[in-house]
């Protein structure tokens, strides 16, 4: 693929360099750069430049052109940076004088190009691409580029300022070890000489930072603080210490400065500092600064400060946070805890959905801490209050469900808990299943399913579920008017019957299975059908037999395989997968210690055949939806592997009556193409036409049946699997098509444009 693309490269370069043509759009150029990035990562820039002289040509022409488009110029800067990212590429470009004329800002930016933000951005990007090795750093330091970079820190474009900060942090990070190393032990003279430039650059950056922080102008302080935060998170410890010495003084001034919007960036800096060893060094005064920030601001800003301090782990006890959250949640539904009465009233909090949702989220996430076990009763009580409140918004209920699930996951079963579940929880859930809002019904059913699944195997829970009339509530929900709700009801019911250890009466089983079959056959929307299949699959997975299901499997396969929804088909194939797994792997264990007997395999295959599983696989293999055929192909490969492993004989035993199925034609077609020597009726051409197959079908001498092994052989499953694994847009997304597009647009004459319309 790359070689094809490389052959297109010269003409693309030509198009890009042609200032008379409109430049391609930004996205194309970005994609092109991505491709170059891939290329340079496989191969260094030097060899690319050597093999593709057109690139150098392109860079030259851009440099020399007086009318170059800013977009193209920006692109070429980025490209040059990429090509110089490896030392060899860098040296080559340096030799040819490209780098100096592109990156040393004496010549070109007077052209007015510098005014264009995309050019400044491209220049920075190019620099960043390039500054990956010492020679590039030398180049950077020696040519005084730093002044310009520092200027860009206060650029009007946010993209540029943020990029600048990244580069400055990168430079400090690269140069510091060497600069610091230089200080401590004497190195070779040549290197010391090199480093003197580096030293001056780093000093310049640091003094620039402290200067910015000491400025009166907020627009100057802000990028300074941002840079500081980045450096503190990205750079090594010695650098942090050195830097902190530089900036501590202006920071202390800034901390007491009130009434400006510097609080968030200041807190970002302090937070970054608090995560470093600086925090524990008293002379660094990080904690003192936080203190000053917390108490010198107005309410809103102190809250911001407090929030960022809280984000530092382990600084406040979980119990304290938990109690605060529970109190807040109580206030939000109008229950004032007496303990905070004196703080004042919060009428605006009552009924505030946003706070309720966030509060419940926090309550749920507290469960990751061991300490929160103490809060378990209060947590369940408040969650229940939210569920019982008629004013709870559907989204709040959803959050309450999520929180409840998390608390259930950590609590240990107790009589109190089961009393809570069967008395309080189930009664409110029953009411929610009848709620007027479908969202509430849906999330309640989902919750029941998740809860049942989470408490799988817990006999008290299962008993509560089955004795409280919940099953009949779920049954009723199956006929909900909303498809989503129906689907959730199917899932919940499925889960409820999967987990049960109670011997289910067969009539109930039959009733459910027949209801799900009706859903599968008659439902107009796909969600309930998908859910029904998932339920069948989960039932098939459990070790106990589900007699009612076994009897209906063939109907399930036929309904699912003929469904118009591809997801339903996928789920049907998953069911087939489980069935195959179960019936084929069942054999070895039947006679332990022996190789799976042929007879047993044969029986299993026959069963699969009878249930329509094999037919389903072949039919789906030729499905028009790629994921379906991919899945079917994977299953057939699995089957093939199994048969290869187990059958010692030729495996001709199981034969399929190929003509009975509509997918048979496709297989015959392939069969004939593969086996021309066997057929007299077929011409020697490689391709067999379908008319010929018709003749074949009528020919009595042609076998009506083909063995399964042969079919699996004939179908080139591996090749199919490969083709199917490529996504459908792989051609469109290739660099080649990108280049073709660029060329096409460039060469599009006016006539073509007219034609298009």
């Amino acid at each position: 693929m790359d070689s094809e693309c490389l052959s297109l490269l010269p003409s693309v370069c030509e198009v890009l360099a042609d200032s008379k043509l409109l430049p391609p759009d930004d996205t194309s150029l970005e994609k092109l750069l991505d491709w170059f990035k891939d290329l340079t990562s496989q191969d260094d820039g030097q060899s690319l430049l050597q093999h593709q002289p057109c690139l150098l040509q392109f860079l030259y022409s851009v440099m020399e052109s007086e009318v170059v488009d800013p977009i193209i110029f920006s692109f070429s800067l980025k490209l040059a940076g990429l090509l110089a990212a490896e030392e060899s590429g860098f040296c080559l470009l340096q030799e040819k004088g490209v780098l100096v004329s592109m990156f040393v800002p004496d010549g070109w930016h007077v052209l007015g190009l510098w005014k264009n933000a995309s050019v400044r951005c491209g220049w920075l990007q190019g620099l960043w691409n390039m500054l990956q090795h010492p020679p590039a750093m030398d180049f950077f330091c020696r040519n005084g580029i730093i002044t310009l970079v520092l200027n860009l820190q206060n650029d009007e474009s946010l993209f540029i300022t943020s990029l600048t900060n990244q580069i400055l942090a990168h430079i400090l990070n690269c140069s510091m070890p060497r600069v610091l190393g230089n200080d401590t032990d004497s190195t070779a003279e040549g290197q010391a000489l090199v480093s003197s430039d580096w030293v001056s650059v780093t000093t310049e950056i640091m003094s620039h930072m402290s200067r910015s922080l000491a400025s009166e102008d907020q627009a100057v302080i802000l990028p300074g603080l941002r840079l500081l935060a980045i450096v503190l998170t990205q750079c090594g410890d010695p650098l942090k210490r050195l830097l902190w010495k530089h900036v501590l003084e202006p920071l202390e001034v800034l901390a007491i400065r009130k009434g400006d919007s510097l609080t968030p960036p200041m807190m970002a800096v302090l937070q970054a500092a608090a995560r470093t060893p600086l925090y524990i060094q008293p002379e660094c005064r990080v904690e003192a600064l936080m203190n000053v920030m917390l108490y010198s601001r107005n309410t809103n800003e102190s809250v911001l400060c407090a929030a960022s301090i809280l984000l530092l782990e382990k600084c406040v006890s979980i119990r304290l946070i938990g109690s605060a959250v529970i109190s807040l949640l109580r206030i939000c539904i109008g229950h004032y805890p007496s303990t905070i009465l004196q703080v004042g009233n919060f009428p605006h909090l009552i009924g505030c959905c946003k706070i309720q949702r966030c509060g419940l989220d926090v309550l749920g996430s507290l469960t990751v801490y061991e300490e929160s076990m103490d809060l378990i009763q209060e947590a369940f009580a408040i969650i229940l209050q939210y569920m019982q409140s008629p004013d709870s918004h559907a989204t709040v209920l959803k959050k309450a469900h999520q929180a409840a699930l998390k608390w259930f996951s950590i609590c240990s079963p107790s009589t109190d808990l089961w009393r809570f579940v069967s008395n309080d929880l189930f009664s409110v859930l029953k009411k929610h299943v009848c709620d007027g809002r479908w969202e509430v019904r849906d999330s309640t059913l989902e919750f029941i399913a998740q809860l049942t699944s989470a408490l799988k195997g817990n006999s008290e829970y299962t008993e509560a579920l089955h004795t409280n009339g919940m099953i009949s509530v779920l049954f009723t929900a199956l006929s909900d008017v909303e498809a989503y709700v129906q689907a959730s009801a199917v899932a919940a019911l499925g889960e409820a019957l999967t987990t049960t250890n109670l011997p289910l009466c067969t009539s109930l089983q039959e009733e459910i299975v027949s209801h799900l079959l009706t859903v599968l056959a008659q439902d107009a929307e796909s969600f309930p059908r998908r859910a029904a299949l998932k339920v069948f699959t989960s039932w098939l997975k459990i070790p106990q037999t589900f007699a009612a299901l076994d009897q209906s499997l063939s109907s399930v396969f036929s309904l699912g395989g003929n469904d118009c929804d591809w997801e339903v088909k996928i789920h049907t194939l998953e069911l087939a997968d489980v069935l195959m797994e179960k019936s084929l792997s069942h054999c070895p264990y039947a006679v332990q210690g022996y190789e799976p007997s042929e007879r047993c395999t044969e029986q299993a295959l026959n069963k699969l055949m009878d249930l329509g599983t094999l037919g389903l696989l072949f039919k789906c293999l030729f499905d028009c939806d790629r994921p379906v055929s991919q899945k079917a192909c994977a299953l057939l490969l699995k089957l093939r592997a199994f048969m290869k492993q187990t059958s010692h004989t030729d495996g001709n035993d199981l034969a399929l009556e190929i003509c009975r199925y509509n997918w048979g034609e496709e297989i015959l077609h392939r069969y004939c193409s593969k086996r021309p020597e066997q057929s007299d009726c077929v011409s020697n051409d490689d391709e067999v036409s379908y008319e010929q197959i018709d003749i074949v079908k009528c020919d009595p001498c042609w076998p009506k049946e083909i063995s399964l092994c042969k079919i699996l052989d004939v179908l080139d499953l591996d090749e199919m699997q490969h083709t199917l694994s490529l996504s459908s847009d792989h051609v469109i997304n290739s660099p080649r098509s990108l280049m073709e597009d660029i060329l096409f647009v460039a060469h599009q004459s006016e006539d073509n444009v007219v034609d298009c319309y």
């Binding site: 009465l341 709620d435 007027g436």
Partner: protein, 657 residues
Amino acid sequence: MKLYCLSGHPTLPCNVLKFKSTTIMLDCGLDTTSALYYLPLPLVHSPRLSKLPGWVSKDGTVNLEKELKECAGRVFVDSQPEFCLPERELLDLSTVDVILISNYHCMMALPYITEHTGFSGTVYATEPTFQIGRLLMEELVTFMERVPKAQSATCWKTKEIQRRMLPGPLKDAVDVWSWRTCYSMQEVNSALSRVQLVGYWQKVELFGAVQVTPLSSGYSLGSSNWIIQSHFEKVSYVSGSSLLTTHPQPMDQSSLKNSDVLILTGLTQIPTANPDGMLGEFCSNLAMTIRAGGNVLVPCYSSGVIYDLLECLYQFMDSANLGTTPFYFISPVANSSLEFSQIFAEWLCQNKQSKVYLPEPPFPHAELIQTNRLKHYTSIHGEFSSEFRQPCVVFTGHPSLRFGDVVHFLELWGKSSLNTIIFTEPDFSYLDALAPYQPLAMKCVYCPIDTRLNFHQVAKLLKEVQPLHVVCPEQYTQPPPAQSHRSDLMLELQPPPVAYRRCSVLGLPFRRRHERIQLLPELAKALVPSEIKPGISVATVSAVLQSKDNKHVLQVRPSSPYPSKKRKRLLEEVPELLTPKPLLSGAIPLDAFLASLHKSGVTEVKVEETAGGHILHLQAEDALIQLEEDATHIVCDTNEPLRATLRDLVLRFLHKL
């Protein structure tokens, strides 16, 4: 201006406003919660209720076996239920000129006010208020007359017995002596014959003194707030109002602006329950019961929230797959109520009004009736008993559960836990209502739906309309007793609202300062205005002020100096006509005045500055001129000619009118 408060019930108000020589009664609500102390009136003979033991005090000294019965651990009065009337002793009801009705729930005491009291005024109400009010009264009378009780219990009311001997809650009942049994249909008709219908924004003149105007209040069909205003004063009366979008026309808030006094009553009785949430709760409990094979009983008034409930259920039942469940609406006025709601299109919200032009019935219960899903009956007797099928939903009254068809359904369904009773009316405590039916197996759900303003909405409203003073029942000035910490459930205003309770007489905190007087054209023509300040001219007028029918007119004074003998007496009453003295105005500029004094030969002047102006000492003449902002004094005891000269000098600097 005074306000007499005849009812302490915040949502069933009865206040009398005395304003500019008119006496206006604002609403006359009837508090029927007193019925809760009485035994239910069963429609069908109830063995349980007829065999209740009578009450005898523990020591056996008081025996009220005939009047009081013990039922489910409580003592009830076995008699025709009685209602708590507005106070009738506080002021002479015959002096009331008009009664303004704000909604049909607030007029139920009307016959007690207009009949047998000497009342001879007019009652103003909108048409739906009048018609539905009539239905509700008719229903109440039917409920009572259908189950007559010979006995009228009075012995238990004796103060010594009631307060000292009776068990709670009967002993805590207040004003029991003012309770009365229900009025008769004849009294209802007579009371309603005094009603004059008005439309929203229609201005009604009362004796030329004040103008009253009903405004849409958004609470129920035809419900209104009232504006009572003179030329310079405006009193707003806000009764049951709602800002929610239900069936009635939305509330007119802007007309309430610039009120001197705003009387605020009829806020929601359940401030913690949000009507939307309650409606949802209602539907899900109903669905849960029906699905489990039970029946649902909804005790309700025959007009109002029931329209919204039916509309909500109309949509909900299909989506809940309960499309075939029948609804029964049983009330002596069920049919009229359902039909009336459909014909008052102009009183409905925009959405419903526009349906009429399609033409479609504005309320979907028409369709429920058409498809036989909603059936209405006058009572449980007759057709209903043969057509009735279960499970079903029954809407019926009375919400107090003491009379009406609901009593029968409680006896019928109370024993099964499959059935549910859902309370939607906020007027009665459901626990008290259910007390005589205990023990009850039936599930009970409390979903009070009160769409009237809540404290949050009212705070916003008041911020918007900015009345100078707010008058409200005392209940609104403190949090509800059960939620003493919820300071958001009370009115907090600056200045604080003026609170009233039953029998309060409030002097409303504002004084009338101006009155409009008309000037006849002849008189106006004769005026000679002179400008005293830029844009302000004054003129003196001398005329005769005639006040008649609260209108004041300035007329030209009669010129005939020679009256005939016949008119002599009349003329004598005309006050003596004097030519008015000219009025002076303006300020005296000190420097110019000194200069003119100098010119007149007064040379030795000593000027002393005082707090209010200057004192000029004319030393040679031994005189003083005191110049102040609003007065000038010349002290010159001996020399009269000099005084006159000085006076003329002063006058030269002043304007004369």
